[in-house]
């Protein structure tokens, strides 16, 4: 029974700051709105001062009431402003200890610590903030005594955790330099998220409506410029508008890619993946530095993704699904990819670390129903027809071009996908791959499979197909094999049940 410990005193500042940020923003906006009205701004300022004082006092009380200690088997956290709450978290149940540091945290050598247990999307406990030394101590105590004796994945794996977390074997698996991150950001194209966020903000200030109004005014410089280059086009209002729209869309798309690239470099700066004993450590981030721990035994599914650009550039992206530790709104770091990008040659070595004995090149892929192509194609006819019909209304015969383009895309997509979907059962796991241009391979050990389901929609029954799902913990889309011939589906389903039932599942 060790002594009761407190958070770092700076927690008061950080936590109060966090609460105030949420409350004050609307008030500050209001303040600016009433700046001309003296009476109103005084009232607002008083309110702001009062709220800040309240939050500050509350923060101090909360700080005084929050303690934690290390018992023999559990981490005990006591907290509560009015009602006292004692939470016991057995070390065995703790899956991850994630830490997040923004630049201020880094400056002051503290970190926000989030305790993740199985099956929850939110951290079981958040300790904001702890000094870095306390974080190291927590890692050492919690993860070293995390009940490794009950790992039942196979023949007794000798725990490689040294006592008290000292001198654990550390092996660097992956380091990404900024150039890798630029490639990753460019491929992943996450810029849309930022765009939507920015647009939402702009919308509130009315900037977007102004922008579009000015863009479409007829005496606009851009329009005149285009009209000068294509004298004929100036006479065709539809072409004029279409040119503007196309140019704008292309510029925006390109801009989004650039944004995504910058975002990736900032978010994943200095990415480092290490194996420490039986855990994976990831560290990344330029401004907010995130440090996450993933015990290997908590990995439920390994996901390897390759977009078209990945394939062209000889890269892949690897993620894992763990039970617990998905995105949370409480400021805990998101579960990031294990390897946001890595070259194809290094993939087997990494997979070997995550899933000993897995060799993707030796997998015998079983195909799906030979009629899958036709069925996929029939299913994908809806949107091309609808979209070209709507386009017909606007641009008449040009809609045929759109129809042809969309149909070609549909055919290509269906062809690639019907040929690519495959499944296989290895000695200890099920492997599923799916996709057309963007391809995903999912691997899960049988001892991680929870439920096996076979589903047939009315169309499945007409075409003699079925889809089989192997459910795991923490799954986003899960291991699903659609368009299987009936007998293969029954066979696969039965096999999964047999093998899953023969193994034991432990967190």
């Amino acid at each position: 029974m060790s002594s009761e410990r407190r958070l770092h005193p700076l927690s008061i500042v950080f936590e109060s700051g966090r609460v105030l940020r949420g409350l004050l923003l609307p008030l500050v906006v209001l303040l600016f709105a009433t700046m001309n009205d003296d009476g109103g701004s005084v009232v607002i300022l008083t309110i702001i001062a009062a709220i800040s004082a309240l939050v500050g006092v509350g923060g101090i009380i909360r700080f005084m009431r929050f303690t934690y200690r290390y018992d023999e088997r559990d981490l005990v956290i006591r907290s509560g402003l009015f009602t006292r709450k004692e939470r016991r978290i057995p070390y065995v149940r703790i899956q991850n200890l994630d830490a997040a540091q923004n630049p201020l945290h880094r400056l002051l050598r503290v970190a926000g610590v989030y305790v993740q247990t199985g099956g929850g999307a939110e951290p079981e406990a958040s300790l904001s903030v702890l000094p870095l030394s306390a974080l190291e101590e927590m890692r050492a105590r919690v993860l070293a005594s995390g009940g490794r004796a009950d790992a039942a994945d196979g023949p007794a794996e000798a725990p490689s955790a040294a006592p008290a977390g000292l001198a654990q074997p550390r092996r660097t698996l992956l380091v990404l330099n900024p150039r890798d991150l630029i490639v990753a950001g460019f491929i992943e194209n996450r810029g849309m998220v930022l765009i939507f966020g920015a647009l939402a903000l702009l919308e509130q200030s009315g900037a977007t409506s102004n922008f579009f109004e000015r863009l479409f005014e007829s005496d606009n410089a851009v329009m005149s410029g285009l009209a000068a280059r294509w004298p004929g086009a100036a006479n065709v209002p539809a072409a004029q508008g279409a040119l503007i729209v196309i140019a704008a869309v292309l510029t925006i798309l390109f801009f989004i890619r650039i944004l995504s690239t910058i975002w990736a470099v900032v978010r994943l700066y200095g990415f480092r993946l290490e194996r420490v004993g039986d855990d994976l450590h990831t560290e990344y981030g330029l401004f907010t530095r995130v440090s996450a721990t993933i015990p290997l035994r908590r990995i439920q599914t390994v996901i390897i993704r390759e977009r078209l650009l990945h394939r062209w550039l000889g890269r892949r992206s690897v993620m894992v699904e763990t039970a617990g530790g998905q995105m949370a709104n409480t400021g805990a770091p998101q579960r990031e990819a294990i390897a946001p990008i890595l070259s194809v040659e290094h993939l087997p070595a990494l997979l070997h670390e995550l899933h000993a004995g897995l060799d993707l090149s030796e997998v015998l892929w079983q195909p799906v129903h030979r009629r899958a192509f036709g069925r996929m194609l029939r299913g994908s006819l809806f949107w091309p027809l609808v979209l070209s019909a709507t386009a017909w209304v606007v641009i008449d015969e040009w809609a045929i071009a759109i129809l042809v383009a969309l149909l070609t895309m549909a055919v290509v997509h269906a062809r690639l996908r019907s040929r690519y979907i495959g499944w296989s059962l290895t000695r200890d796991s099920i492997v599923v791959r799916d996709g057309s241009l963007t391809r995903t391979t999912r691997v899960a050990r049988f001892n991680r499979i929870q439920v096996a389901a076979m589903d047939r929609s009315p169309i499945d029954m007409r075409t003699g197909m079925a889809s089989v799902r192997a459910d795991t913990a923490g799954a986003r889309s899960g291991l699903v094999v659609p368009f299987l011939p009936d007998d293969s589906a029954v066979q696969l389903h039965g096999e999964i049940v047999v093998r899953a039932a023969a193994t034991e599942f432990t967190w």
Binding site: G118, G119, A323, I449, Q450, V451, A452, A453, M454, D455, R456, S457, P458, M461, R469, D471, T472, A473, G474, A475, G478, H493, I496, V497, V498, A500, A501, T503, E504, F505, W507
Partner: protein, 171 residues
């Protein structure tokens, strides 16, 4: 009590069993109540259309009548069809549940993956002597697998069987 339970479950384990036939009656009665609500709503909508929107009475009344008859007969006929396509099977290895008429599913939960299980009875289920077995797993899509339409005692004995089997396992 334990012996009777084990005797019952001995009969349960191994083969495929349909649901309890009283489930059809239960579903029909629930459907009847629902249809009554639908009829009232349609009548109200029809009346509103006639009185407020000045639609002609005869077509509206005919349409409403047709809809009411269609939905009522469908909901009274359906439970028997669903019953024919529903079954469960408890083996030493797993609990298998089959259900669905248009969208058919076969769900297998290995015994070792059952985190815990519940037996529950809604008030109307209680009137018919039925119960629902809920099985919780660590999965995502099938974190909760339910089996409705069981005889209440049968559900209890299945659950007891699942629990006892856990205790017998050497972990």
């Amino acid at each position: 009590m334990q012996d009777t339970e084990q005797a019952t479950t001995a009969a349960v384990v191994g083969e495929s069993h349909p649901l309890d036939p009283r489930w059809i009656t239960y579903r029909r009665r629930v459907a009847a109540v629902r249809s009554a609500f639908v009829a009232i709503t349609l009548a109200g909508a029809g009346a509103a259309a006639v009185l407020i929107l000045a639609w002609p009475v005869a077509p509206v009344a005919a349409a409403a009548l047709v809809l009411v008859i269609a939905t009522t007969s469908l909901s009274l006929w359906w439970p028997a069809v669903a019953y024919r396509h529903a079954s469960y099977r408890l083996t030493a290895r797993a609990l298998e549940i089959r259900r669905g008429v248009l969208w058919r599913s076969v769900i297998d939960v290995p015994r070792s993956r059952i985190q815990h299980s519940d037996v529950s009875q809604g008030p109307i289920e209680r009137l018919h002597g039925l119960g629902t077995l809920s099985v919780f797993t660590a999965g995502t899509h099938h974190a909760l697998v339910t089996l409705h339409g069981l005889d209440h005692h049968r559900a209890l004995s299945i659950r007891a069987h699942l629990l006892h089997a856990d205790e017998d396992d050497v972990i």
